[in-house]
């Protein structure tokens, strides 16, 4: 498998602002300019029959937007919501249409400047996730900071499986 090319505006820029958040203890980051709003927990409406990756919809300022659970894409277990749980509303192009999507997060940290140039391409081994779902692995202190490839994840509708190289058993 060839090295995944970083794309989007982040590819050229050195340091960019990224919102960091947490899912099941793993740290993730996404470009701050994708983020529209961070919501405290709002009542979700389950959509019977929908894919587990997009299980619900919420009312975001009078619009009905889907809620996606990145944990599904990364094979992480769903945890009960806590006081720290948030929904990160991002705007993403889906098949050419800009679409608002809520992402579930266990905890949202700060907006940090991350040097994507210094970030590494996802390693071919040592990860238990679909490699194409991970755009970059940046560093925050000693901890890896995962930059998910949202375009790829949403194009695949969050289907887990396929290119998985498990090193440790799934939690």
């Amino acid at each position: 498998m060839s090295q995944t090319q970083a794309h989007g505006p982040a590819a050229e820029a050195g340091e960019i602002e990224m919102l960091t958040f947490e899912l099941q203890g793993e740290a993730f980051a996404l470009e701050a300019d994708l983020v529209r709003e961070i919501l405290d927990l709002v009542p979700e409406t389950e959509v019977p029959g929908a894919a587990p990756f997009v299980p619900a919809v919420i009312n975001f300022r009078g619009k009905v937007i889907p809620v996606a659970d990145l944990r599904l894409a990364f094979g992480l277990e769903r945890a009960a919501t806590t006081l720290d749980s948030r929904i990160v509303v991002i705007e993403l192009e889906l098949d050419g249409d800009p679409t608002l999507i809520g992402l579930r997060a266990d905890r949202v940290h700060e907006v940090a400047r991350v040097d994507l140039g210094a970030a590494e391409a996802p390693p071919a081994i040592g990860m238990r996730w679909r490699q194409d779902y991970v755009r970059r692995v940046a560093r925050r202190g000693a901890e890896p900071l995962i930059v998910p490839d949202l375009d790829c994840i949403f194009a695949a509708r969050g289907a887990a499986g396929a290119v998985v190289t498990p090193l440790r058993p799934n939690a």
Partner: protein, 652 residues
């Protein structure tokens, strides 16, 4: 939103002009001698050429010039209007459209021009329309509307053009001028009398004023007894010109820069209207939250404000609905061309009758109805109507008839396409369905169910594939589109007499009346138009019918679905479940819910592509408390229920 691109402005105008030219041509095909129509078509072509050149669409201008020239000859009586000429210009229109959309990439249209020239030359020999009478001296009296100068008309240019026709003596009349202190220099108060000497036809003089004629007064009379015998009595041009306008409610081509005084219309992008609609929708939602809060408050002032806001919001919503409505004649107009072309392709003679063109419908719905209706009309022309010989043998008039009609029925509009053709051949439908595995051989189905089979994907009874239909894509796409609009499609057919396809479409997509129900912990909205009745499902009935989900209502068995199971809520059922009976056309199905909350006017929000695979819901809505309720897709649920019933019936 940013400034509009000038060429985009031209494209919009050009599309309208082309449509008007097309309508004019089609009218003309029926009344070859009608001079008004010839003039209208010529003016449309002339404006198209002129504005095309102005906006840099040179290829379009050059091409249109040939058509214009051809019509100019007709107008001047040098050539007659022939069906061949009209057909040639109609054909050329496709090329003009292509040049409007893509000035560089649309071939050169040589073949079309050749056909056009052939048509013009073929007409040369035939007796032309009587040449307009010519006289040697004319008196031309004219006055312009007051705002003519502001609108860019230059009277001097008109006078100069008259001078080109012959020697002129011009007298300006200042009789209508107001006193000096009241004089507005930007207004035109003068009128002119011109004595013109020269061998010119009356129509040549009229041509000078061709683009200002609609608003001005013009009298042209021959002078001093040498008037030709058939000289027409002078008529104010305002009467003569727009006779065609009365027949055709669509606005006539307006020369650039000469907007009509009385028409206060505004061109607004459809997406801006959509935005506005969204805001109104949000307002309605916010208002229902306010109402909920106010109803729990003892504050009388708050309640009265809340009521006022409610009234305003509902009026605003109604106004918004009206703004989005357009008459369906916009849509029906396109079918005249289609039927014209279909007639030529199939060699059948087809007459199109439209009824109820003034029926109004939401603009987005009209746009989305175009393709399905084209399919249905094509089917009628291709499969339904017989050839002229077959028709005569069957004792019918040689020309087939397709009727397009629209009418209101409650909150819906019913659009019907009917033909007087051979009708749907049941035996062939059955044979085809059996060979496709859509129907078990020898299975008993009702006539309505048999006819519904033509909407199955891949179904086509056409023995041979033509360019028009018979590719097996069509009716199923039609059905899906109509259901996507929350509509219902029905078909009726009498062998030998013809068929009728009815599309029942809600007036608007944006707002529906719904029945709010609760299933488990979730709340759902059922479109009220689909609800037939609500009955209690007693625990005994519920228990007894675990094996076969059928209840008897008024001597008919109705299959039902337990939404709790369909949605896998996992919650225990309420002790007093309700059965909401919904229907699409003939088919009925019951939906078991835990509670009926009440009726609810709903602003529909569509679900994103991420939920495109969820077929049970057609959208979502925001409730008074800010929560989201999903809207059930009734046709889909009914189909699920019917399938279940069929399975049960097959099992025994």
């Amino acid at each position: 939103m940013s400034e509009q691109d000038p060429s985009e402005v031209f494209r919009i105008e050009a599309r309208e002009l082309l449509e008007q030219i097309e309508q004019g041509l089609l009218d003309l095909a029926g009344r070859l001698g009608d001079r008004e129509l010839v003039d209208a078509v010529f003016r449309g072509l002339h404006t198209l050429k002129g504005s095309g050149a102005m906006f840099g669409f040179d290829a379009l201008a050059a091409f249109t010039h040939h058509c214009e020239t051809a019509f100019d000859r007709v107008r001047k009586g040098q050539a007659p209007a022939t069906p061949a000429l009209i057909a040639a210009v109609l054909d050329a229109q496709g090329h003009m459209r292509a040049l409007v959309e893509d000035p560089g990439g649309a071939g050169d249209g040589e073949a079309l021009l050749a056909a056009l020239h052939a048509a013009v030359e073929a007409g040369e020999g035939a007796p032309a329309a009587p040449a307009p009478a010519a006289a040697s001296r004319w008196r031309v009296a004219f006055s312009l509307p007051e705002d003519a100068l502001i609108n860019g008309t230059n009277p001097l240019a008109l006078l100069a053009e008259l001078r080109e026709l012959g020697a002129c003596e011009v007298v300006a009349s200042t009789g209508a001028c107001p006193p000096f202190e009241a004089l507005d220099p930007t207004r035109c108060h003068l009128s002119w009398t011109v004595e013109l000497t020269g061998q010119v036809a009356k129509s040549d003089i009229e041509d000078v004023f061709i683009f200002v004629m609609d608003d001005m007064t013009l009298a042209i009379e021959p002078l001093s007894g040498d008037a030709p015998a058939e000289a027409e009595t002078p008529l104010p041009a305002a009467d003569a010109a727009p006779a065609a306008a009365a027949e055709d409610a669509a606005p006539r081509p307006q020369p650039a820069g000469e907007a009509r005084r009385t028409e206060q219309t505004l061109r607004v992008g459809a997406e801006r209207l959509d935005e506005l609609m969204d805001r109104v929708g949000e307002l309605v939602i916010a208002q229902s939250r306010l109402k909920q809060i106010a109803s729990q408050s003892p504050d009388a002032a708050l309640r009265s404000v809340s009521e006022e806001v409610e009234r305003l919001a509902s009026e605003l919503r109604d106004t918004m609905m009206v703004v989005r409505m357009v008459p369906i004649s916009n849509l029906f107009g396109r079918f005249r061309r289609l039927v014209h072309d279909l007639g030529r392709e199939t060699g059948k003679s087809i007459e199109l009758v439209t009824e109820g063109e003034t029926t109004e419908l939401d603009k987005t719905i009209i746009e989305r109805l175009a393709d399905p209706l084209i399919h249905v009309v094509r089917n009628s022309a291709d499969h339904g109507l017989e050839t002229a010989e077959e028709r005569l043998q069957a004792g019918k008039p040689a020309a087939g008839r397709i009727v397009l009609s629209a009418r209101h029925a409650g909150a819906d509009v019913v659009i019907t396409v009917s033909d007087d053709g051979r009708g749907i051949d049941r035996a062939r439908v059955r044979a085809r369905a059996e060979s496709q595995g859509l129907l078990a051989p020898g299975a008993q189905v009702s006539d309505a169910e048999l006819l519904q089979l033509i909407f199955q994907p891949g179904f086509s009874t056409a023995a041979k594939v033509t360019s028009l239909s018979g590719r097996g894509v069509g009716m199923d796409v039609v059905k899906r589109t109509v259901e996507g609009l929350r509509g219902v499609i029905e078909v009726a057919s009498t062998p030998g007499q013809g068929s009728q396809v009815s599309l029942r479409i809600p007036l608007t997509l944006a707002i529906i009346d719904g029945l709010l129900v609760r299933v488990g912990r979730g709340r759902y909205v059922i479109p009220l138009s689909a609800v037939e009745e609500c009955v209690e499902l007693s625990p005994e009935q519920d228990l007894r019918s675990t094996g076969r989900c059928l209840v008897s209502l008024r001597d008919r068995f109705v299959p039902y679905l337990r939404l709790r199971e369909v949605f896998a809520t996992g919650a225990p059922p309420d002790p007093h479940q309700k059965l909401v009976v919904v229907s699409t056309g003939e088919a009925r199905v019951g939906l078991v819910v835990d509670q009926i909350v009440g009726d609810h006017q709903t602003v529909i929000k569509s679900l994103t592509r991420l939920h495109a695979d969820v077929e049970m819901f057609s959208g979502a809505t925001i409730l008074g408390d800010g929560g989201v309720a999903l809207i059930l897709d009734v046709p889909h649920l009914v189909e699920t229920g019917q399938q279940q019933e069929r399975r049960l019936a097959a099992a025994g």
